[in-house]
């Protein structure tokens, strides 16, 4: 283990244990770690890869940016930490400005304590919210090594610090074979879920369309490993409207946060109508950042089209799409109150709660107040399901 020393220190400090005792009764299933600038450079061979290793470099305007496979990523933040800034928007331009709770497990635990969060399921930032930045790397060997390095770091640094962190692995989505191998390796090393870009063929021309049966070996493997497969909102550009240049920064951020979840509806439709979930009845897709408000409608639309286009006869999809959703899928909520009124259409056992720390849409640092407000009319039993029981069951957390 490369981060053994740190892990040993944390164990000695009494911060590691098997079971998680819940103090707040809240599990956030979608938060983001922020990768430190040297995450990849300190572990990967400079002799072999030279400047192609993902790293941070200062630009002409003084701002530091990620450089991945030689390309400066000007469109994305060095660290998307809007929830930690005063105006909830400004993002750090240099690493020295990045708040510690973004990248340091101990500081993160303190933030979670102050916000009433017991456990946090982890997603990347620089690697792409769903690993799509790494998945887009053209050189397959480099792509695989970058994914492995991220995954090892999550286990060695975050999971080793506390069982309150639920580690998830990104996959080299540019190759089915590589994704299968990394899913096996990562889950073997302790990862409790795998993260996939919603449409790999849009980020990497080497990947087939996700709904083609070519991907069946991956679904077979994930089903066998019995971990959820997560499609984070915002990773498939083609399901989202472009952000008009007429917006100012705050407006653009607001619209971006709304459009991402709206796009998730299309991801759910696709996973169901592609037939994948019919063929793999024990695959558990999670749609973090999806929101739940329009899910009842998405299910009605799916059932309606299934009936109108006679997909049972024409495509052999014999069950209603909504039944498949209720059997296998998970969606998440954070900003909704009205949406919870229609929770029975979604199924209270299908809904997870998320904070999306430290992004601008996050409920932090007001998670407790927002939960009280949104769940005021939800009976205690269903509230528990949504706030932690469903997540604990899905991620097999010992509580």
């Amino acid at each position: 283990m490369r981060f053994q020393a740190a892990a040993a220190f944390l164990t000695a400090a009494g911060l590691e244990g098997d079971a998680v005792g819940l103090r707040f009764g809240v599990i956030s299933v979608d938060d983001h770690v922020v990768e430190p600038p040297d995450l990849w450079t300190r572990c990967m061979s400079r002799a072999k890869w030279g400047g192609r290793i993902p790293h941070v470099a200062a630009q002409a305007d003084g701002a530091e940016r990620w450089v991945i496979e030689g390309q400066v990523r000007t469109g994305s933040a060095l660290a998307a930490t809007g929830a930690l800034s005063k105006d909830r928007g400004s993002e750090p331009q240099t690493w020295s400005e990045v708040p510690k709770s973004a990248y340091d497990p101990q500081a993160r635990l303190t933030a979670m304590d102050s916000d009433g969060i017991d456990c946090s399921v982890l997603y990347p930032s620089a690697a792409g919210g769903s690993g799509e930045v790494i998945g887009a790397i053209k050189d397959l060997e480099l792509q695989i090594e970058c994914a492995r390095t991220y995954n090892d770091w999550i286990i060695d640094v975050w999971a080793a610090s506390s069982t309150r962190f639920v580690p998830q692995a990104i996959l080299p989505a540019g190759s089915i074979e590589a994704a299968v191998a990394e899913a096996r390796r990562a889950v073997g090393s302790g990862h409790k879920g795998v993260i996939m870009p919603a449409q790999p063929s849009q980020i990497n021309p080497a990947a087939p369309h996700l709904y083609k049966p070519d991907w069946d070996p991956l679904w077979t493997t994930i089903q066998e490993l019995d971990v959820p497969v997560c499609f984070h909102a915002g990773s498939a550009p083609s399901v989202m409207f472009e952000i008009s240049p007429a917006y100012d920064a705050a407006g653009a951020r607001a619209f971006d946060n709304v459009r991402q979840s709206a796009g998730s509806a299309a991801l759910i439709n696709g996973m169901v109508l592609s037939g994948i979930l019919y063929r793999f009845p024990k695959l558990w897709p999670v749609f973090p950042g999806s929101a739940i408000d329009y899910v009842p409608f998405a299910l009605e639309a799916l059932d309606h089209q299934w009936e109108r286009q006679r997909l049972a006869e024409n495509e052999g999809l014999t069950q209603r799409p909504s039944e498949i959703f209720h059997r296998q899928c998970y969606v998440t909520t954070w900003r909704e109150k009205v949406g919870l009124r229609n929770r029975n259409y979604v199924g209270p056992d299908r809904i997870l709660w998320q904070s999306e720390f430290p992004r601008s849409t996050s409920t932090y640092p007001e998670s407790e107040r927002m939960i009280e407000n949104n769940f005021a009319e939800v009976p205690a039993q269903e509230r528990e399901l949504i706030l932690w029981r469903n997540a604990a069951r899905l991620y097999k957390l010992s509580i």
Partner: protein, 376 residues
Amino acid sequence: MAFEYKRIDVDSHCQEKPDTWTSRMSRAKWGDRIPQIVERDGRETWMCDGKVMMNGWLALCHGVIPDRKSLPTHWRDVPSMIYTADGRMRAMDRDGVSAQVLFPNTAGVGGEGFMIKMDPELQKDCVRAYNDYLAEEFYDVAPHRFITLAELPLSSVEAAVAELKHAANRGHRGFLMIGATEQYRLPAFADRYWDPLWGTAQDLDMPVHFHNVAGAKRLTLGSEPGASDMKMLAIGSANSFALSSQIFANLLLSGVLERFPKLTFVGAESGIGWVPYVLEACDYEWERNQLYKNGLKRKPSDVFRQQCYVDFWYEQAGIKLRDFIGVDRILWETDFPHPTSIWPAADKWLKWSFEGVPEEDQHKILVENPKRVYKL
């Protein structure tokens, strides 16, 4: 005696007749570039300016075909109930529909038919012919039963404004707008470029219509290459709401409604189930990102309830949240004769959607709201 309305269908599609354009445009000026039906590979297809129109469909009308699958390949097989005023009125009577709003078919279901790489002069003439056709063959025949909407030549805002004035004089009650203008290399609708159009529409009291995805071409996530037509239609239709919802989110955050507080926007074939999502999410982000400091004074959900309308045809869950959407904001449609249409089973679907809904709210949705929007 005043005509008594029972149900008003705010989204149906009128199939253009073969001579819609050829009888109204100058052959001397345009030659073969005029939209017309031509025989190609043993089937008839609409062509305009050398390009195939509407994906090559002669008449998109799965909803009136017995197996909902086998579309007509020759005009002689196209059912007259989708293109004649009499035929349509008989079909409406069968579903208890008193009046219906007409959207295009061949001219682009969302008003985008003449948008792609089109000579602006040709676009102007094609649009004018379509608008005059609707007025002559439907509005003039039965003005209390057909509510017509104009297409606009959107290649330039001046041309669009001129056509809107003509359309208002010719009895049209609103117009179609593209939802993602950027995709047609036009300024975003948040851009001031469109202000003359919004201003004219507000003055003339002509509601702006986004029909379904409103010409947006994205969502290539749809179905895998090689998927069947049925699967493609199902995924495409189900996904379209992911776009509709973004069109309205974009509208609510764009500032257009602040600048034109008396302008009305209608989402046709929009569905309503996503509306609570858009309103809750936009309100949340408006507050979180402090947009009230940036000129958006009213909360997005308040703006929606003052200036926007949406419609449904088969939903139940969304209707349960009608108090939050605003019961005054909801309209009803059949989408006759498209693949998703509920014709001729409107009674059955309304019974499902209106389960537990008081008579008073039903009447608002089916009659009062559309009467207000279209000034009937």
